[in-house]
Symmetry: C2
Subunit: 424 residues, 2 copies
């Protein structure tokens, strides 16, 4: 298998690119200009920005001018944006605390809009399970194809790891250890850093971001959800030291309710595989381990993913593989000709912030333009699940939210809990 | 501090060495001849074997002859051995399933023996908590000084790590990850391997050996017990493939009830430190991680202990340290003169099987002969706890057994459990 090759349509010019309405694209700040926009720029035949919505219309107008988005119209509110029929796809890249209201309003006000087919939202799709469920339900009723930015699934290292697992190159997985060190939630924080990042209720936390993305990647690679989990959530740093713009201590402190450590352990339903996870908050400063390690052990070999911080979905990783490999074979584990081999996968200049999201856009284009003759995807993708093809959907997001909810319950109730998502 | 320097009495000739009665020393097989005996040989002025008891008296007589134990008498049963008054210390090195009966019989039958002062037993002091409690109680009533072979505490790497922690060289510990791969309990086993090793009830298991020793070392280094724990015990390999003496598959299988994986997580009572542990059974074959890793992170630096298998107590380790260090200072963390430094500790030719036990014998000699002018040890050492000086006792063993019992309960009851040993 080679699921890392370039997508079918990505270089084919199209007369009718998907018209993209963007909520939260500013030329001046934010995540979208660093990730979504450079990705879309690489697919000019497939995507074209036609509408823009920001907190204020001035930002949208200035962005249109600066980025030369000649086909784009600026809007001042969600309802007029939602009813604009020159849009096939809406991309929502706003701060998580604001996401719920905007998405719900968009879905409500776009009901009469005949052309809107795709909604692509940033993870985490709402602050909590309740919001994610409501959004998922509303999107389903609205009938749009959803896409969620669990973009770690598109990391070339994750895809390669998944291939090696699915081809039996490490045999049956029998244990997994994960240790990650996230960026926020440590002893210090910049005084200008938005408060919601340190508020447990905001939905942007070690649990949703570092754990959510990483565990989604793990489930994707192993093609298994969890059957049982236990978690312990720590807030050992209830007050953080504030730093000025030069990184110097201001002498002030600020409250933090967001967790700074998560211990998680459980068994994967496929193979009852023990998984041990330690997610640490704060600056990644580990000296003798990489600050992101996913260590997968099997009966025939090992896989190890390493990165510089606990953000697997946007880090350039290194994949180490030792195991059996036979070119062209779909199932090495049963063949006797597989010889043990050792490989390292690393693209030194891979821009993972843009690259993983670019590959989501490629997957959307592949799905929409249907140029892949081998595609087995249905006309509507309810969830990607563990498919190589396609893209993660709101349903996939919901499954991660359900796991996070179980993590919170397990920690609060001090219990080991069953988790079953197969029947979701 | 330098707690790794040679003990005070180890080279001082003594007119009256401690007279050692040995249960389970055979010149031909077993653990004692590889570990205890070479250790005692290095301390001829402090220890002298005067009595020997094995399953049969022929083994003892042959051992006396072969090892030239000219002062030793062979015994044929525990009761006559126990009443032999030419013994100051009894060392018990037998298989764990037999340990309880022998120790209890020894304590019972030695009541009239005026000279017996020390009983040194192999870990795990009984098959389970119940046996360990009974032995501890009987030894206390008998009034002997107990010593337990939790010899990992005497590993020079463990002692050095403990020093660095206690001197504040890595600041406050804020997270710990442990991953270990034990030797037994995997997919295969030698046909001649004793059955009790694979029987969950035998008391020799991934829990008691790999986990027990390692977690005792961790608690010793951090000077903290656990306040809360969760565990999941796995037996994913209920049948093992049997191998002949050449390592070839015989085609037969044998039942295994002993666990092959333990997931453990919890918080240390001192600092509420999150600790994540994954103990894997089977041949240590990890390719991209050492098969024993203890990763300790602090606010000022890191410590990492690595070894080749999940038996920290008898492995030659490597200790990596990065943090603050000021020569001669007892508390670096509060001093401003500490500069970050990086060091690796490794004695290439350290024989850890003998060495750690030798250092227990040295500690016993130091304790008995009282030649250390700085000693703060009481006349009777109820437990070593987190002292550098002294040696682990039956009480220390009991504390580890209580933790193991909690691990079993946590896994069975699917709960996160409080653990408090301070008041034991």
């Amino acid at each position: 298998m080679n699921n890392n090759k370039r997508s079918y349509v990505s270089t084919v010019p199209k007369a009718n690119p998907l018209r993209v309405g963007f909520i939260g694209l500013s030329a001046y700040k934010g995540w979208a200009i660093k990730s979504h926009y450079p990705a879309i720029l690489q697919l000019p035949s497939q995507f074209q920005v036609t509408a823009l919505l920001n907190l204020d219309i001035e930002t949208s107008l200035a962005t249109i001018k600066k980025l030369k988005l000649t086909k784009a119209t600026a809007f001042s509110d969600v309802s007029s944006f939602a009813s604009y029929d020159n849009v096939d796809m809406v991309v929502i890249s706003v701060n998580v605390p604001e996401l719920f209201t905007i998405v719900m309003e968009l879905l409500e006000n776009s009901k009469a809009n005949p052309n809107l087919k795709y909604i692509y939202s940033e993870w985490s799709l709402g602050k909590n399970l309740k919001e994610a469920e409501a959004i998922h339900k509303a999107a389903k009723e609205r009938g749009v194809q959803t896409i969620i930015s669990l973009q770690g699934r598109k990391s070339p290292y994750v895809v390669r790891a998944k291939e090696l697992v699915s081809e039996g190159c490490i045999g049956d997985i029998n244990s997994i250890e994960i240790a990650a060190n996230g960026g926020w939630y440590g002893y210090e924080r910049p005084i200008k850093s938005p408060k919601y990042l340190y508020d447990a209720a905001s939905g942007v936390s070690l649990l949703s971001i570092a754990f959510g993305h990483t565990i989604d990647i793990l489930q994707y690679i192993t093609a298994s959800y969890f059957s049982e989990i236990n978690a312990m959530i720590f807030n050992n740093i209830p007050y953080q030291v504030l730093l000025d713009e030069h990184g110097k201590k201001t002498g002030e402190k600020a409250e933090k309710t967001a967790p700074d450590h998560l211990l998680f352990q459980g068994s994967l339903s496929h193979g009852n595989v023990p998984v041990s996870c330690s997610f640490k908050g704060g600056t990644p400063v580990k000296k003798f381990s990489k600050n992101l390690v996913i260590d997968i052990h099997g009966t025939k070999g090992d896989l190890k993913l390493e990165g510089d911080a606990g953000f697997a979905e946007m880090s350039n990783l290194v994949l180490y593989f030792c195991g059996l490999k036979k070119e062209g074979s779909m199932n090495v584990s049963t063949g006797s000709s597989g010889a043990e081999t050792m490989e390292v996968y690393h693209l030194r200049n891979y821009n993972s912030v843009v690259g993983n999201i670019l590959r989501i856009y490629e997957a959307i284009a592949d799905f929409h333009f249907r140029t892949n003759p081998r595609t087995k995807l249905p006309p509507k993708l309810e969830r990607q699940g563990f498919l190589f093809e396609g893209f993660p959907t709101f349903k996939d997001a919901l499954i991660v939210h359900q796991l996070i909810q179980r993590v919170i319950e397990s920690s609060q109730q001090k219990t080991t809990l069953p988790t079953s998502f197969e029947a979701v």
